[in-house]
């Protein structure tokens, strides 16, 4: 019988089926961070039970860490306490921790892939909704709550109802200056912030196939922003080449044997999906969001809709009032004083190369504070080795140390009340980047172009070469 990629991986991880069609799903890899794990460890202590498979959980500190002076003690007391608590919990329960200062530290969804811990065919969870990122390698990866973090620590399993399957096919060729971030913002704008709920999404088609692993991660990362549990892409030569030689990837013969298995991970001809969508890459232009959820996005040449395409007028009006925008208005030309390049969506080395390629020899506008936060210490080191940090400095950008930073403003990196920020992150929710901050989601290229111009521009008008990912 024909099976989808999703079903192949899921079915291989079902330990047994509980009452009411709920599966006991085995979890291969578990990532934890400082914010959503402390209460889970307390639960283990209350029950006096150990971590069942300590070798399958990896920890890092990312959400509330400062992005300056990481060699010094964290100055904010609550953050320091939470990061300290993570270290204590990892020591007590025997878990690997890539904490502050460790060469492998970084945003949890950046370090898993770059260390070769994330591999095709796995089930991966983390107490973070952007765990869907790892699906770019052909895994079932999804975010969980803290009670479930405790369950995975205690049993390496979760009770899960199998979601529905969706396939989103994007065929054709992207225009120059259009990145994978634009593809996913475009898809979410079509499906809305709830259009994927109850589903696991497979991304397919020639435009997806042509993307690098970094670009695929950006797409899978934002699956949750349309409500989907996760997204995945069938692994191919691009994926195998990315994994080969990485720190924890299988080596030599073991790698070849693994690749042999990974090649079986695709949706069979005729496999059935509950829901299917088709889009053309040529229809996608650089995207920007205008509202307070990621589904409220438009192409840069378009105007903000006059009325909501879905949902209530009340919610639409509340959203635009928060953003200080009007129906029918264009975003191009809007003055912007803050640019944030970073987050688990767009902080990998390829994102930094794309930004450097655009800003080389240019200077940021005087009104703009432009911050670049690399996804990990390895990304930062690579950027320095390639001289990207010097390019950023010369262009007047503020190149920081790794962490989640202004994506969610848990540390000091916040956007002031009422200010617009063109951000490469994943959420434009009210207050996400700081109380009263107004987030406009866009690609790293659009963010770079905004920083140089001091206002929102169509990056296609100032490209210095055909840039794609």
């Amino acid at each position: 019988m024909s099976k989808t990629l999703f079903d192949k991986i899921w079915d291989a991880h079902v330990v047994s089926q509980a009452e009411g069609g709920i599966d006991v799903l085995y979890i291969d890899r578990h990532f934890i961070h400082e914010v959503t794990s402390p209460q889970a460890f307390d639960g283990l202590r209350q029950r006096s039970i150990p971590v069942f498979r300590p070798g399958q959980t990896v920890a890092t500190a990312d959400h509330n860490v400062p992005t300056r002076n990481q060699h010094l003690p964290i100055s904010e007391a609550l953050s320091r306490f939470q990061v300290q608590k993570l270290s204590e919990n990892c020591a007590e329960f025997g878990l690997e921790l890539y904490g502050l200062g460790h060469p492998y530290q970084g945003i949890v969804h950046v370090i898993g892939p770059e260390l070769g811990i994330t591999r095709p065919g796995m089930t991966i969870v983390c107490g973070d909704s952007h765990t869907s990122t790892h699906g770019a390698f052909g895994c079932i990866a999804f975010g969980i709550g803290t009670s479930q973090v405790e369950q995975v620590l205690a049993t390496q399993c979760l009770l899960q109802k199998k979601p529905k399957r969706m396939r989103i096919t994007v065929d054709g060729e992207l225009q120059p200056g259009v990145l994978s971030k634009d593809i996913i913002l475009y898809i979410i704008s079509k499906l809305t912030a709830s259009g994927g709920t109850g589903h696991f999404v497979e991304y397919a088609g020639s435009a997806i196939r042509a993307l690098s692993m970094e670009a695929r991660m950006t797409i899978c990362n934002m699956s949750i922003e349309m409500g989907a549990r996760g997204g995945l892409i069938a692994p191919d030569e691009t994926a195998f080449a990315y994994i080969r030689g990485r720190e924890f990837a299988p080596q030599g013969e073991a790698f070849d044997k693994a690749v042999e298995y990974w090649r079986s991970l695709y949706s069979d001809e005729g496999a059935l999906f509950d829901t299917e969508y088709h889009f053309r890459a040529e229809d996608i232009e650089p995207m920007v969001t205008y509202g307070t959820n990621p589904g409220m996005g438009i192409g840069i040449s378009q105007a903000i809709p006059l009325a909501p395409e879905s949902g209530s007028a009340q919610t639409f009006e509340k959203s635009l009032a928060y953003m200080g925008l009007r129906p029918g208005e264009h975003l191009a030309g809007k003055t912007v004083n803050y640019v944030f390049i970073g987050s688990c969506t767009n902080s990998r080395i390829e994102d930094l190369r794309i930004v450097a390629g655009y800003v080389r020899g240019r200077k940021k506008a005087d009104n703009v504070h432009a911050m670049i936060v690399p996804g990990s210490r390895q990304v930062a080191a690579q950027a320095k080795a390639e001289g990207l940090d010097a390019i950023f400095r010369e262009a007047g950008f503020d190149f920081r140390e790794p962490g989640c930073s202004a994506c969610l403003g848990m540390n000091e990196d916040k956007i002031p009340q009422g200010e617009y920020c063109v951000s490469t992150s994943n959420r434009n929710f009210e207050g996400r980047q700081g109380p009263g901050a107004r987030t406009i989601l866009a690609s790293p290229l659009m963010a770079a172009a905004t920083a140089i111009a001091g206002r929102i521009v169509d990056v296609r008008e100032s490209l210095n070469g055909p840039i794609n990912n």
């Binding site: 330990v15 047994s16 009452e19 973070d128 009670s147 912030a193």
Partner: protein
């Protein structure tokens, strides 16, 4: 986990769609390492101004409305997986959230914390909002055993769906972890069998 069987209460209306978990509990309040006390920051930036003064226009600050049932617009709980959202809602005193659509992760987190998500039709949700608008002291009944939600004054009721397993857990106050811990031998056997077949998947 606290049991849930039946609840009769007045309700608090929040007729906004796509309420994300960053609104329910902003990220800057996620630094606690225990589960308690999140209720005081529930809907923090809608509830209080930058100076900490209550915003009179927000429903939680309106003395007309109270009760253990929160009624919200569609796609409630979207965004971040933070279980702190469910903790802040229960810590504030709600036991039921009614909406015409819930985000997946929030629904799971709610069920794991004895908070009942009741998904009703758009039409019935509208009827509930109208009832509260007409009479802020109107009562509603959530009956988990019968899987029904009722507008008490009119008797108008709607059936709601819930996984039979999660329903059983909620009715009895069972946690998933108790069930999973009882499965450890099966889990170990599954691991052994799989590692025999394809060891490379496992190794870190």
């Amino acid at each position: 986990m606290e049991k849930f069987q039946t609840l009769i209460s007045t309700a608090v209306p929040l007729p906004i769609e796509d309420v994300d978990t960053d609104q329910i509990i902003p990220a800057r309040f996620l630094k606690a390492t225990t589960r308690e006390g999140f209720g005081e920051n529930l809907f923090r930036d809608w509830r209080f101004g930058p100076d900490g003064a209550p915003r009179a226009e927000f429903v939680l600050n309106n003395p007309l409305y109270s009760g253990s049932i929160l009624v919200a617009g569609r796609n409630f709980g979207c965004g971040s997986s933070r279980e702190h959202a469910a903790w802040s809602i229960t810590d504030y005193g709600f036991r039921v959230v009614v909406s015409s659509f819930f985000a997946d992760i929030f629904r799971g987190n709610a069920l794991n914390n004895g908070l009942l998500p009741v998904q009703v039709s758009d039409v019935f949700l509208h009827a509930i909002f109208s009832e509260i608008e007409t009479n802020p002291r109107a009562s509603f009944k959530a009956d988990l055993e019968a899987q029904s939600f009722t507008i008490v004054s009119t008797g108008q009721a709607e059936h709601f769906d819930i996984d039979p397993y999660k329903r059983m857990c909620l009715l009895n106050g069972y946690d998933d972890i108790d069930f999973l811990l009882s499965m450890k031998d099966e889990i170990a056997a599954f691991e052994a069998e799989r590692s025999r077949k394809a060891g490379f998947v496992h190794t870190l």
